[in-house]
Symmetry: C2
Subunit: 440 residues, 2 copies
């Protein structure tokens, strides 16, 4: 076991450069931990001339990452190119076909092609490791694949996108709008120029699909995730949440229900006292509910070059030490085909912010439409401004005012039907805001 | 790899019974995860007649756990007897000598004999796994040994004893005394009849010594832990902490300092906004500070049969899958001899609650004694009761009143010297309460 593990790193962006530096900086410790040296012997990146501050003199350079994946000088390919198709996919497929281990941070690739890649890795008897792809520096993949082997998991949920959590945290703490916070996030490099992928929840959905598969032993079903982003959240919702004892977080939630596996990404009211509610800024967090542990929560950095490199290097150390785990914790053939629980059947508490015309009978009309569908109300919050009350002491002006409802457990279908009925009655002056509540 | 891993379980108390049940309940999933079946083939316990609700008909029974450890029917010995010496030690030593893997939850044994046992396991080429011994169901050993391989750890601290956290949580939430909460903890089974080991911090110290070794790659140095328990904490301290923005937790803290490795267990003021401050009741938590991740926090159950069994079974699954890790994350010979940083050199913020005679000049005397040792004060809190103020409007009664000080960073030696000087001046009517502050 004194032969080095030879790494080929495809992609030398922020994460790739951090990986190369970490492998060098921690060489002695990694050799001790893995039982043999780990060396970067080959790299591939688009621009060879860029100064990345890396000592790459003794390292083979490949224009083409697929050629790197096939190189005889590489035992383990570290794919940090990104994207579900194109060069990333070709590189990983070539590496597995050549019988080389693969370590990747590519959630899009795995969410799309994880099952086929896992089968290829198994057939070749090599590792397909992807700790960095689910929650950055938080070792949630290792926890699910190895540490919870004896547990039956019933739910996993988390803050999986730092951009969204940064925006929601600032909106809450400073009373700012979504647009203002997004602009700041972009200026600070926390959000892309086109932020859609992050703020509309798709990034969270990819990560959730991986965690779902690991947690429930099911095939990845990225298309089965119901997705809703945070762009419609207003400062008023955050204030109301605060008054009612909640915070709003963009959560990815997967749980087993009698109807099947429910996977959903949406802004969520979480009790202020929960561990996950304390997580502010770009930090990520994952909570796992199991039969034996009840609740296990992991909190840490979800992104950034160094944090992501930490996860990549841990996977590399496992490969070097010969510690192999099936990609999704069990053989690909043992993964069950997931039965999807449709979102309409989701049952839980709801926060509903209506904008109603301020006139007699409106509250009664709203309450009736909910009662018809057996929806019970935990709280109702209507607060007119001082100003409005002075100008219109009888409450008959008909001006739009907010009316906030918190329901007990109800189905998504019942909630949507009652809101449709209210709209048909002409009770609503704006589309309603609906935010699901997640109990801990 | 289709041959079963044959387990010999020594000790069938709460944890041992939970392990046997979990291995059976999760047999199919464990087989998938580990690549081969896992079976309990032998057990050992003192009382054979007790009904534990286990199906042990096909299982060999050993009166003597050492005989079980040597049995040809066992590949992996699961030691759940407990205690640093006696049967537990003999069993583990016999198992390693016979070339069998060992999985244990025994923190006392490892804190005392970890280095020798790790060497024996290495020589035999077998596993010595002890996930359950550090923070119950929280996978902190795996995280330190494997997931953080690329990180340089600078500090690790945590709530490692559920009994103490339960007592402090109830004292805070209900304003009760230590004695009252201890009694309740005993009634609920959270505390032993003789609670010394838990409430005086020794249990936390054992666990901390293991985490220190894993975090810093140093030999275990259980005798190097400075230990202080929670029995002197009063409801007044908890109220004062609350007013100043802190909670009081019994923490185990290990950090690298210029003077060496500091290991300490003591009641600690933690900022209310920190993740660890949110952890209430019997729950445990560990925070790890590293160069690459900054902060990673794991929160979960620290004790209980099922939670501990979860950790034991994860270790068993690793053994069954052939995923071997050196006991302390690197070869025993590579562990460095720890240089101890003496507690007197500890530098940090301090909460000091003095009981002084209420008369002119006392505050000045206190402040002078601190200034002489270059100790700067962040806050001073003196609050006389309404009653006292009415009876003694000039503050000259000389009755004992509390005076609370929060210092900026100062050394333990300076703090102790200034308090000695105040006592010599006759300023203190009772011994001072000193609680260290830990910043996140």
């Amino acid at each position: 076991m004194t032969q080095s593990l030879r790494l080929g790193v495809a992609g030398l962006g922020t994460v790739g450069s951090a990986v190369v530096r970490m492998v060098e900086r921690r060489a002695a410790t990694l050799t001790d931990a893995a039982g043999r040296p780990i060396r970067v012997t080959a790299v591939s990146a688009r621009d060879r001339t860029r100064d990345r501050g890396l000592a790459l003199a003794d390292v083979a350079w490949f224009e083409d990452p697929v050629a790197l994946a096939r190189s005889g000088e590489v035992d383990c390919v570290v794919e940090l190119i990104g994207g579900a198709e194109g060069a990333a996919r070709a590189t990983v497929e070539a590496a597995l076909a050549a019988g080389k281990h693969v370590v990747t941070a590519n959630k899009a690739l795995l969410a799309r092609h994880g099952a086929a890649l896992a089968r290829a890795a198994e057939a070749a008897g090599v590792a397909l490791a992807f700790e960095a792809s689910a929650a950055g520096g938080i070792p949630v993949v290792k926890t699910l694949r190895e540490a919870l082997a004896g547990n039956r998991i019933s739910r996993i949920y988390g803050i999986l996108n730092g951009t969204c959590n940064y925006i929601l945290s600032r909106m809450e703490l400073e009373g700012l709008t979504f647009e203002a916070c997004l602009k700041d996030a972009q200026a600070l490099g926390y959000a892309e120029a086109d932020p859609t992928f992050d703020v509309e929840g798709y990034d969270t959905a990819h990560k959730l699909a991986l965690l779902t598969s690991l947690a429930f032993g099911s095939e990845i079903d990225a298309d089965g995730v119901s997705v809703e982003g945070i762009s419609a959240i207003t400062p008023l919702d955050l204030r109301m949440a605060d008054e009612l004892g909640y915070r709003i977080k963009l959560l990815g939630v997967a749980e087993t229900t009698p109807a099947g596996i429910e996977q959903r990404v949406h802004p969520t009211m979480v009790p202020k006292s929960s561990a996950i509610a304390q997580v502010m800024g770009v930090t990520n967090a994952v909570t796992i509910d199991t039969d034996a542990l009840r609740e296990l929560t992991l909190i840490g950095p979800g992104a950034g070059g160094e944090a992501t490199a930490s996860a990549v290097v841990a996977d590399i150390a496992d490969v070097a030490a010969g510690r192999l785990v099936p990609a999704f914790g069990r053989p690909a053939a043992a993964l069950v085909h997931p039965r999807r629980a449709e979102m309409q059947r989701h049952e839980g508490g709801y926060y509903i912010r209506l904008t109603v015309h301020d006139r007699p009978g409106v509250a009664a009309g709203v309450a009736t439409r909910m009662a018809e569908r057996d929806i019970s109300l935990e709280s109702i919050l209507q607060r007119r401004s001082e100003n409005a009350a002075q100008q219109d002491p009888h409450g008959r002006s008909g001006v739009p005012v907010p009316l906030v409802l918190i329901t007990y457990a109800a189905t998504e279908a019942a909630i949507r039907a009652s809101l449709d009925a209210m709209a048909a009655d002409g009770l609503l002056s704006e589309p309603p805001q609906v935010i699901r509540i997640e109990r801990d």
